[in-house]
């Protein structure tokens, strides 16, 4: 790891001003991903601004639903009574992520900001366009490539995963520059539950629909999200829903805990008898962003919960999917998982 400056701030304003002022400055929350990235020299910050003392760790009811502070710990959110009662999908997804120790450190905002676990991104002797973009991007979430004592430290460009070890990689929305996936479980629940992200920045406050927070790689895989320079995630809003009786987060992974998803499915339904009145579906482990399955949702809305309908919905969800060799199995595993999750959530299993 490299020497860096460390400051602790107590107000969002001070935090935003600190990262805006000097290049190479990063917010530090739980640190469960950033510290790894620093050890591997994938990210080499000049300065860290510790935001753990900001008053942003609360979870509270609002007129429209629930507001979860950006520095609330993953474990605190997962165990929160309101979350468990009204947004069980979120609680399940959080508990499916990482390990107990990591969930005790990781924050909601940090979870959204975590980088892909693509092996090529983490090994700076291997090609990666996300780590080593052709042009350096200035946006937050992108990687600083240069440092006085390091020179060009971040290794070759290109995409190592294409033609390489891509078992974990994307089947939707990838580009020739990058086929990495976003690793979060929490974000799958949040995109399914129509969350909104409240951010604050040098140019003021704004709201970002959760589905627009993360982005597809396109020509700029170094940019994971749509945050502007200096913007700080303040909180996430969840609208009230009628999904609490029929929610399920299915995570298919190589071991029973502490493994990233091969494929995950978040399902939330509003059932009337056996009829699906409303439904939300999203997948993880399949794209550069939490992947919402709106076509499948539209198909299922108003239909009875039958395996035949689940199969059709899964087929619709898979339109446009593309494998890259080692991850071809996801073209089958993904629809199977959608069906399995729907069966469990509608209790038709």
């Amino acid at each position: 790891m490299n020497p860096f400056q460390f400051t602790r701030v107590t107000t969002p304003k001070a935090a935003i001003s600190a990262v805006t002022k000097e290049k190479g400055t990063y917010f530090l929350a739980g640190g469960t991903n950033l510290i790894d990235l620093m050890k591997r020299e994938v990210v080499i910050p000049e300065r860290l601004v510790d935001i753990n003392k900001l008053p942003l760790a609360t979870i509270e009811k609002t007129v429209t639903g629930l507001r979860i502070g950006a520095t609330a710990k993953n474990s605190a959110v997962a165990d929160n009574e309101l979350v468990k009662k009204y947004f069980p999908l979120l609680s399940q997804a959080l508990n499916a992520g990482a390990s107990a120790q990591l969930r005790n450190m990781a924050t909601v905002g940090g979870n959204m900001m975590q980088r892909t676990r693509c092996a090529y991104f983490y090994d700076n002797s291997m090609p990666c366009n996300k780590r080593s973009p052709v042009q350096t991007g200035g946006a937050a979430g992108s990687t600083e490539r240069f440092r006085a004592d390091k020179g060009q430290a971040n290794g070759p460009t290109g995409c190592g995963a294409i033609g390489g070890f891509n078992r974990m990689h994307a089947i939707f929305g990838a580009s020739e520059k990058c086929i990495a996936v976003h690793p979060s479980d929490m974000c799958i629940a949040l995109v399914a539950l129509d969350a909104t992200v409240n951010v604050s920045g040098p140019k003021g406050d704004r709201k970002i629909p959760f589905g627009e927070f993360h982005r597809l790689p396109g020509d700029k895989p170094q940019q994971d999200n749509t945050l502007q320079p200096g913007e700080l995630i303040m909180s996430v809003d969840l609208p009230t829903n009628r999904f609490s009786d029929n929610s399920h987060y299915l995570k298919v992974r190589d071991r029973a805990s502490y493994a990233f998803a091969l494929v995950s499915v978040g399902v939330a339904l509003d059932m009337k008898g056996n009829t699906i009145r409303d439904v939300r579906l999203a997948m993880g482990g399949v794209a550069h962003k939490p992947w919402r399955l709106t076509k499948a949702e539209d198909f299922l809305r108003g239909k009875p919960a039958t395996e035949a309908n689940f199969k059709q919905a899964a087929a619709l969800a898979m339109q446009g999917a593309k494998g890259y060799g080692e991850n071809d199995f996801k073209l089958t595993l993904a629809p199977n998982s959608i069906i399995d999750a729907l069966k469990t959530a509608t209790k038709t299993a």
């Binding site: 790891m1 020179g151 190592g160 390489g164 190589d254 071991r255 029973a256």
Partner: protein
């Protein structure tokens, strides 16, 4: 002398130290003025270093030196092999390549050290190491065994693996035949404790070493050879080890380098490698492909087995293991042939990993047995019983003991084998498929040479000493129990000292051999003390004069006449009367020539129940029963813990563990504990362990055989067989990940 009674379960004697932080592991030791070093590894797998820029690192704060092939201090024994193997002399390199750390610009494997950076703190050494910049002339690296199987060569020496009994191709003409290929990926030991060493030159030719080694005497010998100094001038300490699993079975080149650099800089020097270096610098279970051909008659009697294995090794050293051995003697089959080949790749050299080659071989053999049983429409246990052998068909001699039939029976009862349906895919629970599987394991029961010292003090306390290190199986606890059984000293008055070369010489902890080897020496030393006490008591003028040894009993510090309990003398009084503060005995012990008349093996049987999700291919082990037939169990509680650990490791081997290389670069892509999946708690169900616990009459005075390896050997096969029983699909490539199962089911 041996009581034919089972031993009580006692707590691990070092348990309190371990859970309170009182146990010192090598990296815990602090010596004033210690410097720290960090290894910079090659980022290519084959080629040469074109340029190496160390200037920035040298100028970084706190840096005391940057050592590369250009300035590495010479090692006097550099030309001699730097080995220190567990069970024999250091291996002579048989290959054209030679690997000597930091001796040339040539790169032979990914992660090969290209520089060692020394600084006054670990953090400063780490930072400076990141400033070392290398460029390379790259050559195409051959790292994929699958592409080079045809280049296999027969290794020289005892492990050649070529074996023939009867006809090599007898299986071909059998009424029922099977041909199947099995693959085991690279597995990495990944103990929690990282590898390293703390080296301290206490004088110009005297050395103190704290190491993560499974054998202090082996490390001492390796360093003596490397630095051409007398072993007695090298003191090695390794009392505790945070998991070894085989990676500490030799002295690794970087350990020797650290010792050399410590001498050069004139300061104690500590190395602790990082997790990714655990994948390249301390060995691994080699990627191995196997083919089994099997033939049987309609009644399920085996006619022939042919077992061929090909494993990877390094370009610079031939590593071999006993992958095909089990096939030679496990079943009563008249025609058996085995073949073992190695392929030299541009990879770091493998090393034994728990169960070692036998675990690899057992996966193939016991999967094949299950496949044959299915073809024959026989219960897999019944098929094994029809080919059961009471004598070793490889050597035509009896087993020293074998209670495998009882093990099959007791394990089957415990798992609920009767609920298993022989027709695969026929048991469901909700959407999940349920399956049962079983498998056999076996491993040599060794009786190596070892020595131990036992001291009985007049206050009644007993000290047991041996250089052996306790890598976690409970060696100290077992030695305590053995001493207690002979001298009847209360357990809390027995102290065991181990893991240090100042103590009587002992073999390296490995091969499930330590209770048998060191335990026998402890037994002999304790027996000698007991005889001394009896002589003192019964000699002329003694309190029990004229009595015979077999009339006496010793318990809780009192020597008394069995039939006349009032006739007694306290050991303390006896020793005081003879002016003895201590009775001190050192014994060397090894098996007699009569052992050659027997085949000595431990056996295990593993049973599992699995659940398989037919849509996602997820496999969960929901029940596990492991049965050990390993003679008298000396310490039942730590023995059960070993079995439990074997099951956890076996679940990892079966379902999750695989180190993956991107062969375009010759580099690992999952060299960390997030992506290399060892089994976690959620993968491991409640485990039932069963000990047959019948003494082996031949091997040693305790009647105890080893059990560390058999706890793992065979387990992966049991899981694969259970997956087949659940689904009707056979997975022959470990690990059995959801994608493999799902693709077969959809």
């Amino acid at each position: 002398m041996t009581k034919d009674t089972k031993n009580p379960p006692i707590d691990r004697v070092d348990g309190r130290l371990k859970v309170t932080g009182g146990a010192n592991y090598f990296a815990d030791f602090e010596i004033p003025n210690t410097a720290y070093c960090v290894i910079v590894g090659s980022k290519i797998a084959k080629g040469t270093i074109a340029s190496l820029d160390t200037k920035k690192a040298q100028n970084a704060p706190g840096v005391l030196g940057v050592f590369t092939h250009q300035n590495m201090p010479p090692i006097p024994g550099w030309d001699a092999p730097v080995g220190g193997e567990a069970d024999g002399p250091a291996p002579k390199p048989k290959t054209e390549e030679t690997y000597r750390i930091l001796s040339s610009s040539k790169i032979l494997f990914d992660g090969q050290p290209i520089a060692i950076v020394v600084a006054d703190t670990y953090e400063r050494a780490t930072y400076a190491a990141s400033l070392v910049k290398a460029t390379y002339s790259k050559q195409t690296a051959r790292t994929d065994l699958q592409k080079h199987v045809a280049e296999g060569i027969a290794p020289k020496g005892a492990d050649g693996g070529n074996y023939l009994r009867g006809k090599p191709d007898a299986y071909q003409a059998a009424p029922v035949t099977l041909e199947a290929n099995y693959t085991i990926p690279i597995e990495v030991h990944n103990p929690m404790e990282l590898h390293g060493i703390l080296a301290h030159w206490t004088g110009p030719n005297t050395l103190m070493i704290y190491a993560k080694t499974q054998g202090v005497n082996a490390t001492q010998q390796a360093m003596a050879e490397a630095f051409k100094i007398a072993p007695k001038n090298i003191h090695v300490h390794a009392e505790f080890m945070g998991g070894g699993f085989g990676m500490g079975l030799r002295t690794w080149p970087q350990e020797t380098a650290v010792v050399a650099i410590a001498r050069k800089i004139g300061r104690p020097l500590k190395l602790v490698v990082n997790r990714s270096q655990m994948f390249t610098l301390v060995g691994h279970r080699p990627y191995t492909v196997q083919t089994i051909n099997m033939g049987a008659d309609q009644d399920g009697k085996l006619i022939g087995i042919a077992h061929a294995a090909t494993a990877e090794t390094a370009s610079y050293e031939d590593f071999t293991e006993a992958t095909v051995n089990m096939t030679k003697f496990m079943y009563a089959c008249p025609n058996v042939s085995t073949r073992y080949r190695i392929v030299r790749l541009d990879r770091s050299v493998p090393i034994w990993m728990r169960g070692p080659g036998e675990a690899t071989g057992a996966f193939a053999l016991e999967s094949a047995m299950d496949e044959m049983a299915h073809k024959l429409k026989l219960d897999p246990i019944e098929f094994r019983l029809r080919n059961y052998t009471e004598t070793d068909p490889e050597h035509n001699r009896p087993y020293s003991s074998k209670n495998l039939k009882e093990a099959y029976q007791r394990g089957a009862e415990a798992i609920g084998w009767s609920k298993r349906k022989n027709e695969p895919g026929s048991t469901r629970e909700g959407d999940w498929l349920i399956g049962y599987g079983m498998s056999t394991g076996t491993f040599n029961a060794f009786r190596w040479e070892a020595s131990a010292r036992v001291l009985l003090k007049a206050d009644g306390s007993l000290t047991v000493q041996s250089a052996v290190t306790d890598i976690g199986p409970g060696t100290g606890t077992a030695l305590t129990m053995i001493a207690h059984n002979v001298l009847n000293v209360p357990l809390n008055r027995i102290k065991v000292e181990y893991g240090d070369t100042s103590l009587p010489k002992a073999p390296t902890q490995g091969g499930s051999a330590i209770v048998s080897a060191v335990g026998s020496a402890v037994f002999d030393a304790c027996t000698s003390i007991k005889q001394a006490l009896i002589e003192l008591a019964t000699k002329n003028g003694g309190p029990l004069v004229g009595r015979q040894a077999d009339e006496l009993t010793l318990a809780d510090g009192i020597l008394s006449i069995l039939t006349e309990p009032k006739k007694k003398v306290a050991v303390s009084d006896l020793m005081q009367a003879n002016n003895l503060a201590v009775i001190d005995r050192t014994k060397e012990s090894k098996g007699g020539p009569q052992l050659q008349n027997y085949s000595m093996y431990s056996f295990s049987v593993h049973f599992v129940q699995v659940r398989v999700n037919p849509l996602t291919g997820v496999v969960r082990v929901t029940k596990a029963v492991s049965v050990a037939d390993s003679g008298r169990i000396v310490s039942p509680k730590t023995a059960a813990s070993q079995m439990i650990g074997g099951v956890a490791g076996g679940i990892g081997m079966a379902l999750t563990e695989e180190a993956v290389i991107d062969h375009r670069f010759g580099r690992f892509v999952n060299n960390n504990l997030a992506d290399y999946h060892v089994a976690v708690h959620a993968d491991v169900p409640a485990i039932e362990t069963i000990m047959i616990d019948k003494p082996d009459p031949i091997i040693n005075p305790m009647g105890a055989k080893g059990m560390g390896e058999i706890a793992l050997i065979g387990f992966a096969g049991a899981v694969a067989n259970a997956v087949f029983n659940a689904t009707g699909q056979r997975i022959r490539d470990l690990p059995i990940t959801p994608d493999k199962v799902m693709q077969k089911l959809t």
